[in-house]
């Protein structure tokens, strides 16, 4: 028995004898009370601002509550677009269900002009690529450019996103990705897709086969950050090959409580409530903040672009936190169990007569 084991035994023994043991063995960070909700991103001029959400589409109360937090944070941090990490619509995807699981909860953001860019998860009908509010252009994998600098910035730098369909990485998709990555001149190359290449989730974990084909391309062509869902929790992975930072953000509407086992690759984890992320890219720095359903910050920080010259950003003083007036939610309330879909009975799809 080594020292670590002995220490654990002593701690466990002490906790068992304590009249009111309070330290849980679960992962990380109990969120702060919602009254302390703050925005920690710097809101620099000309920065690219977006939100990240994954595994949202259940139509559950919790999804709606996360959406309300997104709206609250959008008031202080007006992000231009949202990337959706798959499992956008669980179960039925009739028009009524599309409204229940997407259009209604995010209506305030849609009304404010926020653009959503989706990728497909294993619970999604691939025909979501034709759905105009997901902005996939009819493609299962696609790329788009984000820049707040207007037309003059379009020939230089900027941020390019590569949305992939990770459950079907065939030769056509991999060839397309290599062509697009190799021809991109963007400073920041960010990829997002459903299945995480790195994850400490107990339910799914790392998609090793996908990692074998994607990671070499990411390293070769300078991808800097990767966002995935699938595991219903939050995890920031320590920088991997090529300095790439990977995030798992799969609890925008689905949650696997205590679903994370901390591993050597975990930089930060949160698996006790739902969450979303907001991200700001300014120059060679990517600022991120993960926010729980109650509005609490569960992770935040800055990533300097791998390969970029060292700058003072990480040494710069942290921006003054901005208070955010967040809606009250009841985190102690009933959670939608894994696999339970929706909160509203769905009407049967109306039959379409065969074409004449």
């Amino acid at each position: 028995m080594n020292h670590a084991m002995i220490s654990r035994l002593v701690v466990v023994f002490w906790l068992a004898l304590c009249p009111a043991p309070s330290a849980p063995f679960g992962v990380d960070t109990a969120p702060q009370a919602h009254s302390t909700a703050t925005l920690t991103l710097p809101r620099k001029d000309g920065s690219v601002r977006f939100a990240v959400m994954g595994d949202t589409g259940r139509g559950s109360r919790e999804q709606y509550e996360v959406a309300k937090q997104m709206v609250a944070f959008h008031k202080e941090f007006p992000f231009d677009f949202v990337i959706m990490l798959g499992d956008n619509i669980y179960g039925l995807d009739t028009p009524a269900e599309m409204a229940n699981k997407f259009e209604t909860p995010y209506k305030p953001l849609l009304d404010a002009g926020v653009v959503f860019h989706a990728c497909l998860g294993n619970h999604d009908n691939p025909n979501q690529r034709f759905y105009k509010l997901f902005n996939m252009g009819g493609e299962r994998y696609y790329t788009f450019r984000a820049s707040r600098g207007g037309i003059s910035k379009l020939t230089e730098g900027g941020v390019r996103f590569f949305a992939l369909e990770s459950e079907y990485l065939d030769k056509q998709q991999l060839d397309w990705l290599e062509k697009e990555l190799s021809s991109s001149t963007s400073d920041w190359k960010i990829s997002f897709f459903h299945h995480p290449l790195y994850s400490s989730g107990k339910a799914h974990g790392s998609a090793l086969e996908s990692r074998a084909v994607l990671e070499p391309l990411f390293v070769k062509y300078g991808v800097s950050a990767v966002f995935s869902g699938h595991d219903h929790l939050y995890e920031r992975i320590k920088p991997q090959k090529g300095g790439i930072v990977y995030w798992v953000s799969g609890a925008g509407g689905s949650l696997r409580k205590r679903g994370l086992r901390t591993t050597d690759m975990t930089a930060k984890g949160f698996d006790t409530d739902y969450h979303f992320m907001i991200v700001e890219i300014a120059g060679d720095d990517l600022y991120f903040q993960a926010i729980s359903r109650t509005g609490a910050t569960v992770d935040s920080g800055v990533v300097h672009r791998p390969g970029a010259p060292e700058a003072g950003a990480s040494r710069a003083p942290s921006p003054e936190p901005v208070p955010v007036a967040v809606p009250a939610v009841s985190p102690a309330g009933r959670s939608t169990p894994e696999g339970e879909v929706g909160v509203r009975p769905s009407p049967s799809p109306s039959p379409t007569p065969p074409p004449q």
């Binding site: 068992a16 065939d170 086969e209």
Partner: protein, 238 residues
């Protein structure tokens, strides 16, 4: 005295309860985070999987350049059947109009209209029309090679991800030719090593697994075009 004895008894009882609680808690803690062998060797497994996928890629390249003579005819026939279906699909899409950037109602209606249209043109289609008997053993062999052994474990696990025959709860999928892949049903991951070794398909078609069956799915109409029963060998996933 009684008070002292009672206090001592209570103290001893508390100590014993604490000890028992400690032992109960210690077992899962000792076997907890960071201690499982599968976590320790993820990097090693990832390296093995990377080699395996590289081998699959190389094999696919060779097969494309120098197909085995015995397989050539069967694969050519498979390709012809696939392209015939793709032509039918494209004609129906051209007739009905391709949905691009539409609202939920039109998206849903377009899928159903295309499905009805194709179903009506393939009323006589049967299992094995495309996965013909001559090509069946080739598919079974290609899939079996990628799923076998310890290195095939991640691929075997990947196939179960979202597989409606395995994942619970899931909308059940009835595997039959010309049948619709039901709305709301999950979709299996097709691992890259398998996907890269199977014959390539046009954009209108894709391979998926339902349970152990390999299905050929129309990617827009969401129709099962053909299937290969028990294409994935029955192997453990642990």
């Amino acid at each position: 005295m009684d008070d002292h004895a009672s206090l001592a008894r209570r103290g001893a009882a508390r100590f014993l309860i604490g000890l028992l609680a400690a032992l109960c808690l210690a077992v899962p803690v000792l076997a907890g985070p960071g201690e499982k062998p599968e976590e320790k060797d993820e990097a090693a497994r990832a390296a093995k999987v990377a080699k395996k996928v590289a081998r699959a890629l190389e094999k696919a390249r060779k097969a494309e350049e120098e197909p085995v003579e015995a397989d050539r005819r069967a694969l050519r026939k498979f390709h012809e059947e696939v392209m015939e279906y793709a032509e039918l699909h494209d004609k129906q899409v051209a007739r009905l109009g391709k949905p691009v950037a539409v609202d939920a109602q039109d998206c849903f209606a377009a899928q159903r209209a295309l499905a009805r249209s194709i179903q009506s043109k393939r009323v006589t289609a049967r299992q094995g029309d495309i996965f013909a008997p001559a090509v069946e053993p080739i598919f079974r062999r290609l899939i079996a090679v990628e799923l076998r052994g310890p290195d095939g474990l991640p691929a075997r696990q990947a196939i179960l991800e979202g597989n409606p025959g395995e994942e619970k709860p899931s909308v059940p999928v009835v595997v039959r030719v010309n049948g619709e892949y039901p709305i709301g049903a999950a979709r299996s991951t097709v691992p890259p090593s398998v996907l890269l070794t199977l014959p390539p398909l046009p954009a209108s078609l894709e391979y998926r697994f339902v349970g152990r069956d390999l299905i050929l799915l129309d990617s827009v109409a969401q129709l099962i075009v053909d299937f290969l029963p028990a294409a994935a060998p029955n192997r453990p996933i642990k």
